[in-house]
């Protein structure tokens, strides 16, 4: 790996560069009324979700639409969904940092923020789904190593720790920037916070070298984790002998799906951030186009995996597997299946391959479509297999109001946390953009 000698003069400039100004300005301004209203709305929805959970804690999972034989529903769907969102950061910044794709630079911070803010919601989804959440520690007190759930707990814990470190490490130079360059009128706790958290970064060559090495190591570790985390989430299903779940492709399928979804949400949020923070100079059409190409490639991959999965099932024609497949294609789950095909493949492929509208709209629309599609994809995986067990009967399921409330609450909570992060941390990795720019 080559040495990167950064221009030391950057640090010595007393006035802010244009980029710094654009990035730091929103951190200084008091939040606008619109922002506050949005935040309050998100907080309200999140509180409603928390309230619904509190009720569920009191009354038990009876408040859900679950029953025999559909034992897992929307909570598990949400869990995979949030894990998928969290893959935005790691995938983009880790992979692209490793392969040194320059167009990554304006997106990395945002991507990592999405990771950090979505993981807590992913992890809590599992706890929401548990019958006895207060016994969560039993997983550690009485570990049973053959359980894919335990693997998942290990993977996700590692993932949370590593990606937090990764986020933080990448943030250190920018925290120092905040410490040094923000207007003095920001609140004192924030000053204190930037002071402490920037760990005395002054941008010396040694610091940069260590920083670079750590980032490289973490990128590689994270790349492995990205694959392991979502493969393991897939294993939770794949390791059972349930029709529709018991397939080897489910691990990589989940990884690809998560990556696609991560990019989708990144594109969506990036466009809004670009518009909101006026980042057009740094997030250029060229950057967006690279993002589009990458997402398009993953959409195709996703389509490929889906096709492989369906064709294999169909060709094998095992009755139990076919029962699940038919319930998706033409049975009671047709809406989620065809919604998934439309949302994850048809719409984004059309939009991104033919660009019928402006690029930024392409990214917004396909980002939305992919995320809805991926939620439906998880629903299509989790629920129909539950509803068609091997043991000779068919079940039915539709999420209850509580489940919808918690789902909405968790989505709102994620956006709320993301907005709060955006108020404290720069949304663009200043040092990286400058580094790449040189």
């Amino acid at each position: 790996m080559s040495q990167i000698i950064m221009d030391a003069s950057v640090m010595e400039k007393p006035e802010r560069s244009k980029l710094e100004h654009t990035v730091l300005k929103p951190l200084e301004r008091l939040p606008t009324k619109g922002q506050n209203v949005l935040l309050a709305f998100l907080a309200l929805v999140f509180l409603i979700g928390l309230g619904a959970w509190a009720r569920q804690l009191a009354l038990g999972l009876a408040v859900t639409g679950l029953g025999v034989p559909v034992f897992w529903g929307v909570y598990i769907v949400n869990f995979i969904f949030f894990i998928g969102i969290s893959h935005a950061g790691t995938l983009l910044s880790a992979i692209l940092r490793i392969v040194k794709a320059d167009w990554r630079a304006p997106f990395t911070r945002l991507a990592e923020m999405i990771t950090i803010t979505s993981i807590p919601f992913a992890a809590t989804c599992v706890i929401v789904d548990m019958g006895r959440p207060e016994r969560f520690l039993n997983v550690i007190l009485y570990p049973h190593f053959t359980s894919p759930i335990l693997w998942d707990v290990c993977c996700i814990t590692t993932y949370i720790i590593t990606s937090s470190l990764y986020f933080y490490t990448a943030l250190i130079p920018d925290l120092a920037l905040c410490r040094d360059r923000l207007e003095p009128h920001i609140s004192s706790w924030r000053k204190e916070f930037y002071q402490l958290s920037s760990l005395g970064w002054t941008g010396t060559d040694v610091q940069k070298r260590v920083h670079h090495n750590i980032m490289t190591i973490l990128s590689i570790v994270l790349l492995a984790l990205v694959i392991s985390v979502h493969t393991n989430v897939g294993f939770v299903f794949g390791m059972t002998i349930k029709p529709g779940w018991h397939t080897a492709v489910i691990g990589p399928y989940f990884v690809i799906g998560a990556a696609l979804q991560g990019l989708g949400i990144l594109g969506l949020i990036a466009i809004f951030v670009r518009w909101f923070f006026r980042l057009h100079t740094w997030i250029t059409e060229k950057h967006l186009d690279s993002l589009r190409q990458f997402t398009l490639a993953l959409t195709c991959f996703w389509g490929y995996f889906t096709g492989v999965e369906i064709l294999t099932t169909f060709y094998g024609h095992a009755p139990a597997e076919m029962q699940v497949l038919w319930s998706k294609i033409s049975g009671p789950f047709w809406w989620s299946f065809w919604g998934m095909i439309l949302g994850c493949f048809v719409i984004p492929f059309f939009l991104m391959a033919f660009r019928p509208v402006r690029l930024s709209r392409v990214l917004v629309l396909s980002g939305l479509s992919i995320n809805i599609g991926m939620w439906l994809e998880r629903y299509t995986i989790v629920v129909p297999s539950g509803a068609n067990p091997l043991a000779y009967f068919v079940g039915h399921y539709f999420p209850s109001l509580t489940e919808w409330a918690i789902t909405a609450g968790w989505v709102a909570g994620f956006f709320m946390l993301l907005l709060l992060f955006m108020r404290i941390f720069p949304v663009v990795t200043v040092w990286e953009v400058e580094e790449v720019g040189h």
Partner: protein, 277 residues
């Protein structure tokens, strides 16, 4: 990456120590991983010593009339939830043994078999592997147990059971007074958020062992009979020690009519059925 290129304080010494640590950890972990993998995941037949009892059941479908006495006998013995219309509509009423219609296609058309289905007490149970807290286990005499205080209610085992023979308590069952007095004191009542299952009336085995020990004798055939077997008017259920070649279950399970549900999955159920002819 070469450490010599770095201007940082990571020295070769540290590097060696680290490498040593990883080597040590690998040496330490290898047998560990190997043991667990071999013991838990690889398909195998558990070693059952000749003296050990292996409880099993044979249900003769040609005798069974689907009268469901077994269902009620089980409910009474095991303090099963009472149920109500709301829970029934959600499919949440727990009955450890149920009569399940199974349509079998044959050359002469389809035929509906009404099968009493308890837990199959697999020798290689898919539910045990997946439990993250080891709350479900195979006891030495072949009964798949469930530890209520340890269960976290993740419902993974319920999902992995191909027979849908495990059940989840969506809420704490209601036992209005004085109905709660009817509960069998030998069986702990369940509560919200845990998984439960047919235990072959394990409490009866414990009582039978207590009694045999008190009378200073070995457990004899017929000392231990689950409630469903005892209640069956058609005498369609045989129960006993599969490891004793002389027992009725052993004999019946060798019958040419005998088969096991979803045998192709390799779960090795200890409940077999005798088909109608």
């Amino acid at each position: 990456m070469s450490n010599h290129e770095k201007g940082v304080s990571l020295t070769d010494n540290h590097s060696t120590t680290r490498r040593g640590f990883f080597k040590g950890a690998a040496v330490f972990l290898l047998p560990f991983v190997f043991r667990r993998a071999r013991a838990e995941v690889a398909p195998r037949k558990r070693e059952v010593k000749s003296g050990t009892r292996l409880w099993g059941m044979v249900i003769d479908l040609d005798r069974c009339t689907a009268c469901q006495s077994c269902v009620i006998a089980c409910s009474v013995e095991n303090n099963q939830m009472l149920g109500n219309p709301q829970e029934a509509a959600m499919g949440r009423v727990i009955r450890w043994i149920r009569v399940q219609p199974v349509v079998k296609e044959s050359a002469g058309g389809s035929r509906q078999s009404l099968m009493p289905m308890p837990c199959m007490q697999c020798e290689d149970p898919p539910c045990i592997k997946v439990c993250p807290t080891a709350a479900t286990f195979l006891d030495p005499e072949g009964i798949v147990g469930q530890v209520y205080p340890r269960c976290i209610g993740c419902r993974y085992c319920v999902n992995s059971c191909p027979y849908t023979a495990k059940f989840f308590n969506w809420e704490t069952p209601s036992w209005p007074k004085p109905m709660a007095e009817a509960q069998n004191p030998d069986v702990s009542p369940r509560y919200k958020g845990i998984v439960e299952k047919c235990l072959f009336c394990h409490q009866r085995l414990q009582r039978a062992k207590e009694k045999a020990a008190f009378e200073k004798r070995a457990l004899a055939e017929g000392d231990y009979i689950p409630a469903c077997v005892l209640a069956c008017p058609a005498k369609a259920i045989a129960f006993g020690d599969l490891n004793d070649p002389g027992s009725e279950v052993s004999r019946l399970s060798q019958s040419p009519r005998a088969y096991r549900l979803l045998d192709e999955l390799g779960t090795e159920p200890k409940v077999s059925y005798l088909r109608e002819e």
